[in-house]
Point group: none
Chain length 152, copies 2
DNA sequence: TGGGAGATTTTGGGCGTCAATGGGATACAG
DNA sequence: CTGTATCCCATTGACGCCCAAAATCTCCCA
């Protein structure tokens, strides 16, 4: 598989490290992603993690504008200044820092959520809530029934 | 990495010195930047720091305008007249002077913010505020749907 | 279909290195 | 001569790197 799919929850250890799921690491290897860039999701309380192309995608938005415009300035502040580089240790773990914890509410567990070309770091409880909400919205326009399937 | 990305906060010591983050120093070395030039950011209460090419970039901006326009005149005054040179000591620290403190409100801590081809010095609290504002502006211009998942 | 061996993945912890910081000594300028 | 800035060295603490154990999964064979 060459895309980030599904989700998994791992523990944060005493040093603040957490294993990136092997499945996701395989995708990283397959896509030949050496360097990880992380930034807060603009919509959900989650951290988005991806390769350099993730940064490129955001930057194209900046480049499309007048470099001295207020919009481009805001965007640069958020993208260039707001992101961080993430390293994996020999066992494929990353460090949870203050920035990530604050924004996500993550304490001792992290849910990794695949988002096709990137993945995200969520607080497990928060993820379940937001997922349910998204599902509800999705089902809103439909005949009531459906709503059983709890995910594991 | 050969660009200034991410951010870090360091302490100002009793002598008014503050360490430039190692990550940024690496970029400076990689870009072979020997001389640092600092000016006021025109938008935020921050000090912009970069190499000689920083000047070039602003000068091109000035050149692009009518040389007799008030804007070009203002910019020249601020860029050419208002900038200062910054030196790093053996440990990679710079001196916070009155000019920098006045404009940024920095007291005992400095947040270094990467802006791709340069970096900035911010008061940590102020940075957090302005970053939030920028984020809000960014979200404001979007369809209030969000829920589905576009990460932007 | 169930058990079990082997492989993989996750988790825990020790240790060395380097960055950040503090402080004394010295050079320089007003 | 005095105050400030620069240089140099010491300390501290965080992070990266390594190895080991525990937990989980896979696959084969009975």
């Amino acid at each position: 598989m060459n895309r980030f799919l599904s989700n998994a929850t791992n523990k944060v250890d005493a040093k603040g490290r957490v294993s990136v799921p092997a499945q996701f690491r395989n995708v990283l290897a397959r896509l030949d992603i050496q360097e990880l860039y992380a930034i807060q999701d603009f919509v959900f309380p989650a951290i988005t993690v991806g390769g350099p192309d993730l940064l490129d995608r955001y930057e194209r938005q900046i480049d499309g504008e007048d470099p001295f415009s207020p919009d481009a300035n805001d965007m640069s502040l958020l993208i260039h200044g707001g992101g961080i580089f993430v390293k994996l240790d020999g066992e494929g773990r990353l460090m949870m820092n203050e920035f990530m914890r604050d924004y996500t509410g993550i304490t001792d567990q992290v849910t990794f959520v695949g988002r096709s070309d990137h993945f995200q770091l969520w607080d497990p409880v928060c993820y379940e809530e937001k997922r349910q909400e998204a599902l509800s919205r999705r089902l809103a326009g439909r005949p009531a029934r459906a709503g059983q399937g709890e995910t594991g």
